[in-house]
Amino acid sequence: MKTLLSALLLLLATGLFAQPLELPPPGPRDTCPVCGMFVAKYPEWVATVLYKNGHAHHFDGAKDLFKYLHDLPKWAPGHDPKDITAIGVTEYYGLTRIDAHDAWYVIGSDILGPMGHELVPLETKEDAEEFLQDHGGRQILRFDQISAPLLKKLDQGQFD
């Protein structure tokens, strides 16, 4: 019985993850906590961090989202990483928001975001590979591979 229940729960959970994330959209006056730009003007790039109490931070690109996550005390004093319930990024081809942990990120492509060189989020590995081919990308990365030094190099246009 117990195994059946856990299997059912697992099924539910995976079922939920396959769906696009339900996140609040950025308001017209919401600014990115990292760069200070208005987010709603760049619907193709919106990334969102949702907290337990329903309050959300929006970013105008995955790069700023990762900078924020790597240094939470600096960009969002008084926020606890444990309170984060969802992290979403806008997937390139369909412009739906997906879980940032499941996305594949391409760097070094010819597609620039509002903040210059970007981590372009894609839904599947195949999407990422074709995007890399089409747009001259350099590398495909997963969520855990993205480090603070890499982001710094990305700002300077270095991808290796």
Binding site: E44, Y93, G94, D127, F131, D134
Partner: protein
């Protein structure tokens, strides 16, 4: 503050009565001035309204239209191309469209016949635009009969009349069923006028178009932005032509206004001399003349702009219609939706009111600083 406003009021009062002392000259100036503003504003309002309408129309149009080309001409496209192009990343929807033009000799106008995707129509049913209903004098439940290319006459029962924000979209539109469309125009099953693709991310549009031309070499993808740019270019070009035609008039006005504003007549010099002799200060004289210029140019601007507004949006811009609308003279009559662009209004204001007011100031200042005795002599 109050004293300042009261002073300006007295000055304006004096200016108005001094303007009325020479009614013929000043009224003539006002009329010519208003006419110039009217012409310029009409062209600006009209082209801006057309451009806004085009933008409104294209807002809902698909991101990419794919046409098949045969010997450089647009041809029917087989529905199988939808599978032939395969799955292209970034494309979230694709389908074939059926539409075409039909010339109605009864009212000498072109209609657009189209098969709608969002509603199912019975075979003899048709939904028509408001302008067609007006020109043909039909309403719901009436029949419209057209002769098709194979010589047979087909009757359509009008089941509804389209309502839309923009009459330009729906004015000449007739929605018919797919089956009737194919028999009426003789288009075989499985063929479409063109294919449309929906792409969510505008950044991916160019890549999708590139892949399309590689996979289907006999087709031509048309991006929505390109259509918009073309419209913009056409309207800008037409606006330019009208402006060129108007240059002569504008130049004549500039000379006239310059002469009126800058050359002071002996009578005006005398007036200034008397004012100074009875104790007016130079600054008061300049202020008085500033109000004179401002009153004339402001009222001419308002008058001209308002008549232009009426001309474009109520009288259908009768003066420029043939030049600005182009091919659409073969079009059922339609009304434009009023659009006003703040920046355009400001530009027109700056180029008409501002120079005139400034041009009046300098000679007055020169006359006002000379000794009243020399001026009056």
């Amino acid at each position: 503050m109050k004293a300042f406003i009261r002073k300006q009021r007295y000055l304006i009062d004096f200016t108005l009565s001094s303007l009325l002392r020479r009614p013929g000259k000043n009224l003539g100036l006002l009329v010519v001035y208003s006419l110039i503003v009217f012409l310029l504003a009409s062209v600006m309002l009209f082209t801006h309204a057309l451009r806004s309408e085009a933008r409104l129309v294209l807002a809902d149009s698909p991101e990419i239209i794919l046409q098949r080309m045969v010997a450089g001409r647009h041809d029917l496209i087989p529905g199988s191309y939808l599978e032939k192009m395969g799955r292209i990343r970034g494309v979230i929807g694709k389908h074939g469209r059926l539409w075409g033009y039909f010339y109605d000799p009864a009212v000498q106008a072109n209609y657009t016949l189209m098969v709608p995707r969002d509603r199912q129509l019975a075979e003899d049913e048709a939904v028509i635009g408001a302008a067609i209903a007006r020109t043909r004098g039909v309403s719901r439940g009436d029949f419209l009969t057209f002769r098709s290319t194979d010589g047979n006459a087909y009757s359509f029962r009008v089941s509804a009349i389209l309502a839309s924000d923009s009459e330009l979209v729906s004015a000449d539109l007739i929605l018919v069923s797919e089956q009737r469309f194919r028999t009426f125009f003789g288009i075989p099953e499985g063929y479409y006028t063109d294919l449309v693709l929906n792409v969510r991310n505008p950044k991916e549009l160019r890549k999708v178009a590139e892949k399309l031309t590689l996979r289907l070499p006999d087709t031509r993808p048309i991006l929505r932005d390109e259509i918009l740019r073309t419209y913009d270019a056409i309207f800008n070009w037409r606006q330019g032509i009208v402006f060129v035609l108007l240059t002569g008039t504008i130049l004549a006005f500039v000379i006239f206004a310059w002469d009126k504003a800058s050359g002071l007549s002996a009578e005006e010099r005398r007036e200034i001399g008397i004012l100074k002799a009875i104790g007016w200060e130079t600054s008061d004289v300049i202020r008085m003349k500033f109000w004179e210029g401002a009153i004339i140019s402001l009222s001419a601007f308002l008058l001209g702009y308002l008549t232009a507004y009426g001309h474009v949006f109520y009288a259908n811009a009768g003066l420029f219609e043939p030049v600005l609308k182009g091919w659409s003279v073969l079009y059922p009559e339609f009304r434009l939706t009023p659009f006003i662009d703040g920046l355009q209004l400001a530009t027109l204001f700056f180029f008409t009111v501002f120079p005139y007011t400034v041009a009046t100031i300098v000679p007055i200042w020169r006359a006002a600083i000379t000794d009243p005795d020399t001026v009056m002599r």
